[in-house]
Every structure is written in C-alpha cells, then in structure tokens.
C-alpha cells in the first residue's frame, strides 16, 4: 500500500522540491494538493499529476497519512493543528512558527493527537554537513571554542517580506537553519543572544529586515556569530549559502555546505551562474518523513528542534529591539 502524503500550500517555493522528492520515492503517493490560492494550487497539481483540493476539510477527511505544510509562516500553527486533529503526521516548513507560543501549541497538538511532527531542516541532510558533523563528533577538532556562520540569500520578495505573513524578514528566514545545525552538530543548547537587525539593503523596496548579525553563546561558552541575510544581489551567481567556520582546540573546519558547483558563464543570462552538482538534501528530509509516517515514529528532526531554533530567532529580534543581550 502506498503512503499517501498531501501538500498543504505552495506558498513556500520549497514545496516544489518536496513534491518532486515525493515522486522520486518508492511507494509514495502525492495524494492531494491544497492551496488557498487556486491558481497556484492548480498549477502545482497539473505539474505533479495530483488532484487539487480546494477544500482543506474534505482533503483531511480523506485521511492522508501525512501532510507537508509549506504555507506562509503565520499559517503553520492553524494547518498543523487541523492536520493533527485529522490524525496526519506533519512535516512543517521552517521556521516552525513565528512565535514561541504558536510553536509550543503545535507540539502540544501533535502530541495530543499522537502524530509525529517534524521541522523541515533539510541542511541536516546535506552530505557535506553530515561529514562535518562526523568529524566534530569524532573529536577531530577537539573542544570547539567559536563558530562563525552565514546563511545568505537573495531577496525572495512576496509574502516573505510581509511581516504579517512571515513574522519577520531575513532574520526570521535565515537564522533557524544554522541555529539547528549548531545544536545538531555541537550537541549544545543556546544560552545567550545579541543581534543587530535591520533593513540595510532594500530600504526602497522592502518593509522588513534583510540582515541580522547575530551573536550567540552556547553551553560551555562557545562563541558564535551568524549572519542571516538577503544580501546577495540579483547578479550573484547562486541563491546564497550556508557556511560555518569552526575554531577548535585541534584545528579549524570550514564548511560551505552547497559549494559543489560548476561555473557556468552564461551569455543568455548575461552573468556567471554556479550550477550545483551535489546531493539533494531535500530528498533525505522527505524520505525520513515518509519513513516516520510508515513506522509511526517521530520524524528525525522534531517540532522541539524547530522550537529551539525559533527561540534563538525570537531572541535575536528582541535583543535588536532592546539593545540588550537576551538570556535563554
């Protein structure tokens, strides 16, 4: 019997990749696509050969085994609670929510319904990231003293730049991946956060922040700086990056997670393009979710992981607003 997964909303562009991953996995059916924007939903349904369901309640009534929620950040809670009530396993796009109470409510709802809740942190499935974590956990760097990270991107525009739907700009969008990786790779929790956050590069076009320089401390005093940004110009050769410099007792480790590329000098595009050839991390994320659904287990990256990463993000905004460090 095929595992039936529905996708709730294609508001987030990652939905396209997740749908593609579902098609690549054996014994999985993309059973329904719901979207509050009919045009967008129908377009996705046509592309992936799945039925478009304009009515969410009727979709949930057909009891999919699991749902992938790729709606605007602000809608994650409502959709998760509905899906949990219907007995569906949930994989929720990051950030898990825009507020800590929302994230906690989602975790509670899923626990109460006895369904698994996962946060979509595909970076954990990036092959270079996995190798970096192995080296760190094997002690190749000894004790870790400091880490400097980036998660840069280009300005996504649309609802991402509308705080009422996104909960925040680049800092909301690009802090959680690295916050999660730091926890996962170092096995520590955050204790303190300070940040400078602002609309630094898009004053005329965006009404939200496009850059956060976030200082964090982890248990054991590990010092961290992370840049969450939409700073890459339109002419930049790729979408952005995830980088981490680990300073350890026995050495230094540089991770540039998606730096497996060929350089394409493209006259048609009129610019240089970096074309990635590395493994697709989304596939690992979606495969884990499908496996979790089948085996009635929690996804490997949980709702709590999503909450922990969100807490840092919320603290960064608070620190930037108050001009003081925030203790977690």
């Amino acid at each position: 019997m095929k595992t039936r997964i529905a996708i709730l909303s294609f508001a987030h562009m990652h939905a396209w990749s997740y749908a593609d991953c579902l098609r690549q996995l054996p014994d999985v059916e993309l059973c329904d696509i719901w979207d509050d924007q009919r045009k967008r939903g129908r377009e996705a349904a046509d592309r992936f050969g799945a039925p478009f369901a304009p009515d969410l309640d009727r979709l949930l009534g057909r009891k999919p085994d699991g749902v992938i929620i790729t709606a605007e950040n602000i809608r994650h809670r409502e959709l998760t609670e509905k899906a949990a009530k219907a007995g569906c396993w949930v994989l929720c796009e990051k950030p898990i929510a825009t507020t800590v109470p929302d994230a906690k409510a989602m975790i509670r709802a899923c626990a109460k319904a006895g369904v698994g809740l996962g946060t979509a942190f595909p970076c954990r499935y990036a092959t270079p990231v996995k190798l970096a974590r192995e080296k760190l956990q094997a002690g190749e760097l000894g004790e870790i003293y400091a880490v400097t990270c980036t998660n840069h991107g280009q300005s996504p525009g649309g609802w991402f730049a509308d705080d009422r739907l996104s909960g925040g700009g680049a800092t909301m969008d690009h802090t959680v991946h690295v916050a999660d990786l730091l926890r996962w790779m170092l096995g520590r929790e955050f204790t303190k956060v300070y940040a400078e956050v602002g609309n630094q590069l898009h004053r005329r076009t965006l009404k939200t922040d496009d850059l956060g320089s976030i200082h964090m401390t982890m248990q054991g005093g590990i010092r961290i700086n992370h840049i969450a940004s939409w700073s890459r110009p339109a002419s930049f050769p790729t979408w952005g990056d995830v980088t981490m410099e680990f300073i350890g007792e026995k050495g230094v480790l540089w991770l540039d997670a998606f730096n497996q590329k060929i350089r394409v000098f493209d006259d048609t595009a009129g610019k240089l393009i970096w074309d990635g050839w590395g493994d697709n991390p989304d596939l690992g994320l979606v495969a884990d979710f499908v496996d979790a659904v089948r085996n009635r287990r929690a996804p490997s990256v949980t709702g709590e992981d999503g909450l922990r990463a969100l807490e840092v993000t919320v603290a960064a905004y608070k620190a930037a607003r108050t001009g003081k460090t925030v203790t977690l």
């Binding site: 003293y145 400091a146 400097t148 303190k192 300070y194 940040a195 400078e196 602002g198 609309n199 630094q200 590069l201 898009h202 004053r203 005329r204 496009d210 850059l211 320089s213 200082h215 401390t217 010092r223 961290i224 700086n225 840049i227 940004s229 700073s231 890459r232 110009p233 002419s235 930049f236 300073i247 007792e249 050495g251 230094v252 001009g323 003081k324 460090t325």
Partner: protein, 330 residues
C-alpha cells in the same frame, strides 16, 4: 632625514626598509634584544643600542620610528617628543585611549609630528574598494563583513600572547578593520563583541564583533589568531545596488614550498605591487614632514581606532553592547 629605529623585530625590519626607500637615513637601530639591534645596524651601517630610551633621545636622530610592544609606545613617544623628534609609531597607537590622549598632548606641546601606521588605509585593494563605494558603484552600503588573521603571532612567552600587553587580536589586528570602517563610513554608535583570549599552553584568540554606525551601517568584523597557519583577509561590502568581495587567498601568485623540515607545508599567496602599502605610508609621512599636505591618518584617527577596540574588549568582558559617546576621537 636621520632616523632612529626602535624595535628590530619583524615590523622594525620592514619599517627600516620602507623608511630608507622613502628617503630617510637609518642612523641608529635599537632593541632590548642586543643581537637584533646589532644585525639590523649592520645591514644599514648604522649605530646600534640595546637601550630604546636612550635611542629615543639620540641627539643625531631627527625622526624616531617605534616598532616595539604596544605598552612601550607611550613611554618612548614621551621621550622622543620631549627631545623634539618627529615620530612614526606602529599601530596600535597605544594600549589604551588614555595613553593615546597623553601621546597627542605631548606631540602638540612639543610641536612634533606624530604618525601612526594604520597601513590598511594604504592597501591598494582597500583603496580600490573605498573608491568603488564613493563612486556609488554598489549604491548605499548597508552591511560590511571584514575578516583578518591567521596563526597566533609570537613565540611562547611573547608579549603578543600576554593579552594584558597586546590586547589580543582585537587591539592588535582587528584594529586595522575598525580604523578602515571609521575611515570610510564615519563614526560608530555601538559595538557588541565576543573574544576568546585563550592563554598558554595552547594560546589562541578569536574575536567576533558587530558594530552599528551612526549612518545605520551594520559591520561584522572577525579577528583571527587561531588558524594553524597562514594569514588571510576577506572583505564583503553590500550596497543596495551591488556587492564587493575581496579575498587575499585569491592571489596572482602562490608559493607552496617543499619543506625540508618535518612540519606540514602551506601555500602562501603573494600579492605583489610595485609600491608596497608600507612604502606608501612612509611616503605620506615624509611628505607631511616636508610640509606637503596632511597624512591620510591622524593621531586622532588612531586614537579612535583604539577606542573602538577598547570598547569591543569591554563588550566582550561584560557580555553587553557598549555605546560610543558622541564623536569618539575628541
């Protein structure tokens, strides 16, 4: 003009060569380490001294170049200024703002010219970036990230590794970037910083700082004395119309020696230019001494850079951001 060099270490050797190329005559080489003073003096057919303070008041010298550990700068500046010498002093200006202020007072009182070697202002790549910014090529700049450093300097027991003396990577190395940021973008408003400052037996320092400037700019600066080898500088400058990137490891020439010793070898990138930025700063100093124009860096600028580094260190110690009061160089 006749120049007394005080401090015959790595920077002293470089400054002696550049001073000579800029038209100065090295007449005296002083270092508390006598063999260092002797061999440098031999190279320049100059006198030597193991007593820096005597050298600073040498009757023949018109100019004194100071390339000694940071805490000795003020005492040597005092002697040289009281003896009426013009002074070239390696950065950082002094260990504290208080000392900088006293040095400036002495220079004014004794009417001598005091130049602090903030050489990054003369680096061609940084000047090229500054020009692009000022031409508006990348629009209004909103975020900058500068990283600088490599291996922990000095041998075991060296003053570099005594953070009370050197101020660590923040005061000794990151100060280059702090100065350049203020040079290009104006006055900072506040700073938050973290600093590692690990001591013996495995000393290393690593500083991460974020500054907010009065014009709204956010700057992230990383100072590194923590790599197993090498030295690297990177810059990334983002504006609303584009971005600039520089990376010193992306060089026209790289040398990877086949080491005869047992240790690992490393690739050394080389960025040769006809006129070294160190020569440019000496020529700027020389022009100032001969009454032509004013130099790119004033003692007040150098004091402001120390103030920025001191504030970063204070922030790292307190774990809270530190605000700059008004114009910091006053």
């Amino acid at each position: 003009m006749k120049l007394a060099l005080i401090g015959c270490g790595g920077m002293g050797a470089l400054h002696a060569a550049m001073a000579r190329a800029a038209g100065f005559e090295v007449i005296l080489c002083a270092d508390t380490v006598e063999p260092a003073a002797r061999s440098m003096a031999e190279k320049y057919q100059a006198r030597w001294s193991a007593d820096p303070e005597t050298a600073a008041r040498d009757p023949e010298a018109q100019v004194v170049a100071i390339a000694t550990p940071t805490p000795t700068h003020l005492p040597l500046i005092r002697i040289a200024a009281e003896s009426g010498k013009h002074i070239f002093c390696e950065k950082p200006f002094c260990r504290t703002v208080r000392e900088c202020r006293e040095a400036i007072r002495l220079a004014k009182k004794h009417r001598i010219k005091l130049f602090i070697g903030h050489v990054v202002r003369y680096f061609q790549e940084f000047e090229a970036m500054r020009q692009k910014i000022q031409e508006g090529r990348i629009g209004e700049v909103g975020w900058v990230k500068l990283t600088r450093g490599g291996i922990m300097p000095g041998a075991p027991g060296s003053w570099f590794r005594d953070y009370a003396q050197s101020g660590g990577v923040t005061l000794d190395c990151m100060i280059h970037d702090l100065d350049w940021l203020r040079y290009v973008f104006g006055e900072p408003k506040r700073v938050y910083a973290q600093a590692l400052m690990r001591g013996e037996p495995n000393p290393m320092d690593y500083a991460q700082a974020t500054l907010r400037f009065r014009n709204g700019l956010i700057a992230t600066v990383i100072g590194i004395w923590a790599y197993p080898s090498g030295f690297r500088v990177t810059a990334e400058i983002c504006g609303d119309k584009g971005m600039l990137q520089y990376d010193s490891s992306d060089a026209p020439l790289s040398l990877h020696s086949r080491s005869v010793s047992a240790g690992p070898t490393m690739i050394v990138p080389l960025n040769p230019v006809e006129k070294s930025p160190y020569l440019l700063e000496w020529e700027d100093f020389a022009a100032w001494l001969s009454g032509k124009g004013t130099p790119k860096v004033t003692p007040e600028d150098a004091m402001a850079a120390v103030a920025m580094a001191e504030a970063a260190l204070e922030s790292a110690e307190k774990g809270q951001p530190v605000r700059f009061p008004g114009r910091i160089c006053r």
